[in-house]
Amino acid sequence: MNIAHASRPSPRTRIFLVTAVLTVLSMLTSPARAIPPFLENEPVTEVIVSAPYVDVHTGPGRGYPVFHVVEFGQTLKLIKRRTGWVKIETGRGKQGWVRISDLDRLETQSGETIAIRQPDARDFRASRVHLGFSTGQFGGASTLGLTLGYRFTANLSAEVRATQAVGDYSNSQTFQVAAKHQPFPDWKISPYFAMGAGINSTAPNATIIAAEDRNDTAMLAAVGASMYLSRRFVLRAEYTNHYLLTSREENQEVNEWKLGIDVFF
């Protein structure tokens, strides 16, 4: 192998570099923790109320009138839930909605305690898939973004990102795949780093200038933070540096800021 050959960065070297960086990333917080298992239980439909009484509303909301009351010791059938409410049927066939927080004392026929759990931070930590919506600024243009992510370990995830930017002079679309690393997944505000690559296509507004559409490779490096809000929602803020490998004289750097909501499943 001669020196001239070795000094030229080949595609393989690039792959090597990317792999090396990823390896370092995943080792930074070693040992990487596995995602805690999700609780699965057999469905329970018949329960006995062990609270003194529970109000039954006509609809799933605090504003809907109370038309019935179930008392201590009564049997209830749990039908379905919507947001923080459960639809129940009493032994006499009356159907109505009760607040989940009012059903904190329930038992089965055999005396086991039953809990109706709302999704919380534990579910968030156990979740694997998330879908995110965001809005922000991409080099001066307003953006809308969509993210689909999959978490391999508590620290490491892969994401597919699509961003639509609408500016005064041009519109652009970016599709990227990124690896995301969260060094401290248990923190309330948890920072993360991401890097990835994809394509960016820019179309200048026809009413202003007649120019051709451009398709460029777009690399990204991002820093952000996410915070668990409630139920299935996470607030997320991110700064991304996009590096567009253009066919022109110079490559282009675009800065993006965004704020969004992730829904986890």
Binding site: F16, V47, R62, R81, A115, T153, L156, N171, T207, I208
Partner: protein, 214 residues
């Protein structure tokens, strides 16, 4: 060449090992060594089907500023976060008629037929308030709720995308608890420069539709 291949393979293997190795050891817990002396309460979780998603199909009239009022159809998916808030992703389509200028001047149309097809998509946050009931005769009472909506999105107007804000209000009527009838009014606000200078347009829509919860 041979060395390059080997190095690449090594790097990939190294990366995979760091990913997989900690997972393999994660099952070893400290419980085997120290038995906790705590009396545990048996708690089972009720596993009930939840209905927090709502899919709606709506139709009505949308007025595109300067281009008349035309039929509009839209599809939306809502996720109910709580009894108060919901998020909505919507997509709608309408056509644009000729502007007054095009009709009066008798000159060539400003846009092609393709450019007259307008579509929009948006992501919005909704707030349910004023829950109530509608009474049909003396036997039936239907639950209802009035809601406010606001969000951001894109509008494809004259083959150009325009960043769009939307604001609206609507009424949901629930004949049963898994079907709802929606009546909705919305303003889609975006700026365009089709006439030379940038103008902000208010485009109002009135739509009626039905949704299913699942």
């Amino acid at each position: 060449m041979e060395t390059g291949n080997r190095r690449l393979f090594l790097a990939a293997a190294g990366f995979l090992t760091t990913l997989l190795a900690p997972a393999a050891f994660a099952d070893d817990t400290i419980e085997d060594i120290i038995a906790p002396d705590i009396e545990r309460r048996e708690i089972r979780e009720a596993n009930i089907d939840s209905e927090n998603f709502e899919v709606s199909l709506l139709g009505g009239i949308m007025n595109i500023e300067d281009f008349g009022s035309n039929g509009v159809t839209s599809l939306s998916i809502n996720y109910h976060l709580s009894e108060d808030f919901f998020v909505e992703a919507a997509y709608g389509m309408t056509d644009m008629a000729e502007s007054s200028y095009e009709r009066l001047s008798g000159s060539a149309p400003l846009m092609t037929d393709e450019e007259r097809e307008l579509s929009y998509y948006s992501a919005s946050l909704g707030y349910n308030f004023l829950p109530g009931e509608f009474f049909a005769g003396s036997d039936y009472a239907f639950n209802s709720t009035f809601y406010l909506l606001g969000g951001v999105g894109n509008t494809l107007f004259a083959n150009e995308k325009h960043f769009t804000f939307n604001l609206g209000a609507g009424l949901r009527l629930l004949p049963t608890d898994w079907i709802s009838v929606r009546l909705e009014f919305r303003d889609h606000i975006f700026e365009h420069d089709l006439f030379g200078e940038t103008i902000r347009t208010n485009n109002l829509s009135a739509q009626l539709g039905a949704s299913i919860y699942f």
